[in-house]
Symmetry: D3
Subunit: 176 residues, 6 copies
Amino acid sequence: MTRGFYIGRFQPYHKGHHQVIEQIAAEVDEVVVGIGSADQSHTLQNPFTAGERMMMITKCLAEMDLVTYVVPIEDINRNSVWVSHVTAMSPHFDVAYSNNPLVIRLFDESGINVRQSPMFDRDQLEGENIRERMRQDEGWRELLPEPVVQTIKEINGITRIQHIADTDASGRADPE
Amino acid sequence: MTRGFYIGRFQPYHKGHHQVIEQIAAEVDEVVVGIGSADQSHTLQNPFTAGERMMMITKCLAEMDLVTYVVPIEDINRNSVWVSHVTAMSPHFDVAYSNNPLVIRLFDESGINVRQSPMFDRDQLEGENIRERMRQDEGWRELLPEPVVQTIKEINGITRIQHIADTDASGRADPE
Amino acid sequence: MTRGFYIGRFQPYHKGHHQVIEQIAAEVDEVVVGIGSADQSHTLQNPFTAGERMMMITKCLAEMDLVTYVVPIEDINRNSVWVSHVTAMSPHFDVAYSNNPLVIRLFDESGINVRQSPMFDRDQLEGENIRERMRQDEGWRELLPEPVVQTIKEINGITRIQHIADTDASGRADPE
Amino acid sequence: MTRGFYIGRFQPYHKGHHQVIEQIAAEVDEVVVGIGSADQSHTLQNPFTAGERMMMITKCLAEMDLVTYVVPIEDINRNSVWVSHVTAMSPHFDVAYSNNPLVIRLFDESGINVRQSPMFDRDQLEGENIRERMRQDEGWRELLPEPVVQTIKEINGITRIQHIADTDASGRADPE
Amino acid sequence: MTRGFYIGRFQPYHKGHHQVIEQIAAEVDEVVVGIGSADQSHTLQNPFTAGERMMMITKCLAEMDLVTYVVPIEDINRNSVWVSHVTAMSPHFDVAYSNNPLVIRLFDESGINVRQSPMFDRDQLEGENIRERMRQDEGWRELLPEPVVQTIKEINGITRIQHIADTDASGRADPE
Amino acid sequence: MTRGFYIGRFQPYHKGHHQVIEQIAAEVDEVVVGIGSADQSHTLQNPFTAGERMMMITKCLAEMDLVTYVVPIEDINRNSVWVSHVTAMSPHFDVAYSNNPLVIRLFDESGINVRQSPMFDRDQLEGENIRERMRQDEGWRELLPEPVVQTIKEINGITRIQHIADTDASGRADPE
């Protein structure tokens, strides 16, 4: 039995993420999906809470024929202990998937097997682009799996992003 | 659709916890299981990591006919924000189940619907008793669901508890 | 102009605290009242939030003819920086009042002028005794200034203490 | 009785802030003034300590005929619990005033009554502009209430800002 | 070249610690001495600051013919990342020495070579016993290396311990 | 006996730092070298761990005829307590050396004797420039003392910096 680990911030979970997990699923028996920056929400870069992201992802994975674990992982802001933090929060895994050179480096220095994760169409699908489309409420639905569109609707996600975007750049709740 | 929330430390997940979730399952459509003190491990009170506990619980819940979410929740050590912390980490829930008067109080002060959780046979099944039996490696298997026994075996859980029990009372890694 | 500093947890603010401040008021022009462990609440030792304690104290001090500042001070859990933490949070003061030997020591090592604070009738008035009386809802009213009794009534303080007292010893929101 | 809540960083407290509080005072009986980022000081964006800001504000409010509470509030860096943090630190309030869309959003999602705060002349009075004038020691006195000018003089505030401005952009005490 | 790692709280550094390091020195070429709970001071269990302990240890090791590194290590309160924290703070080491079963366990689970450290006469030399003798200012000098006695004298260590011992059990700076 | 304190991040320790310490050595009997941001590593600005930096510095100082202490100092992110943090972590010192105006200001406000540190050739030797040369693996060796070049080789430092530089700007382990 092989278990793979794949981490992202999933702000929001989009079709690119979903393709990656489908390709990982072809290589392993079980997948752990780590939700990074789980403690962050209500900012331009991280609009959704960990619980909201968990709901998006779990609903999308339910359609797949694969044992999955979805694990929110709070930031620890200390690269040297990040791998131990992740491995303690997650069910044991045999291989980590990532395209982030730092993540690859950290797993590698810790002696954990790490593979380049399959690529998706980055131009169309990267998170920052999608969040900008959501702010304008235009052209974002087709980039997300249907259950994610549904969740965003239920939590009034578009309004939240628009409110946050009006705030000063710090993305913090303290006004001048 | 009604979603219930049930939190515990699950050190380890035992038959009493499982009975409670079965009874909750009769009242709601989906259950969120929160793993408290997710950042703690390798102490007498919290021997297992969040990832290990997640594995125990997920395997036991797989046998049930119920949509479930398993959410590790790190301690925040500040009762006044604990409810917000939990609700941000968890998929939205309509009712929280607990027997802990403080937890009931905190949810209540936050205006969240909270119900007394069904009781299990506390004498036999409380965590402290089970951990003591594990330390002596005697009479603990019958108190845990089979997948939990299996997980504990895979991670050498009994040896870990015995090692920890030999350590001084502080349960901290700094020796004198 | 001389400003004095007096710190306590004020769980709750009682007549003994009030006497101390009255005596300090005879020696200085202005008093800063620091509310310690401001981040703690809903435990047996710290039942009330910083905001609730601030309300109790401000109302009692309003009756006095003295310029006062009430400053909530979060725990910093590191004795070596505690004095800097306090002096940064508080308006500048010339003398600190305390009976706690550690506090006296820390101010002293930092070169801050510190005086033994006037004593009140400790047997009757210490916080632990008062909280126990509140738990039993008997004999606590006469030990507190009238505005404090009023505040506790408004926030259902007695019920909160009774709920907390029913909880296991850890005083933490994570149930077994 | 109605109590309003108004939060800012007040670096420094200026005539615009004062006008806002005067207008709020017309709508409520008591005002809580929250000092945000209370743990930050000695940076370009946050030159003054919480205690220094408390002194500035308290002196200005003393002239008003209104019950006020001044509450330093440390950053908690987690938007999802920010409202609980604020409500635990502050005396109970009925309505929050803010122009910050994120703050409005967070209070709104928590079910707390929030109103657009009255606007002041932003061009002249925003904090960043004032701090730049203070760095050049030119044209800042007329933008601040007299007690604030006095406090800045007592603590050598202009020299501090000039020293900080010479430091590298990080605003942190660790040199290269 | 072999480098060994030995960790303690060294409150204070005593002859037993020194014997252990002498014995480790016979097995390795270089020794890293980790000062645990470096962030704690001014409590009964941790009376001395990291800097004071560093001075004690460095002076004692200067007499030995061995390359040594003295590394203060702050508590991280999360056993699962403790080993990564230690290895990032310390020069690389090949073997860790400890008698603490938890420490041994944690290094072992991380795949780091760990050896039982040589034992000293625990009855006479354990830290708690020595601190009690220091509180009574009787019979402690003969248990400590001469440079440690000297350092304690310079920093008025006995008076500090006596002041701290008068404080209530919490060992915290917040008075009732 | 006079002890001086000199702090830097030493990412990496270069010939400019070494010259400064040599000049300080002419003025004092002992030098404490504080390693700032000790908790940070594996980022473009802070590529090396505290332990790696400690090794670089200790080896270079071994060649000098001077008693030295090397002290890793974790960030505390609160300027108002930074000086107490440093003085608790470090052996007692009589004078601090710095060119950083904020550091000079903080020591000055705390009443600690602080001197402008001797200047080195900033154009050639500043850390950012050296790290950029390391990324390109060109022209960096001549700017570092020989033992530092050796340490960087042993830990594959160039490869690490190149990996980190490929990562997105945040320098954090969470991928999109």
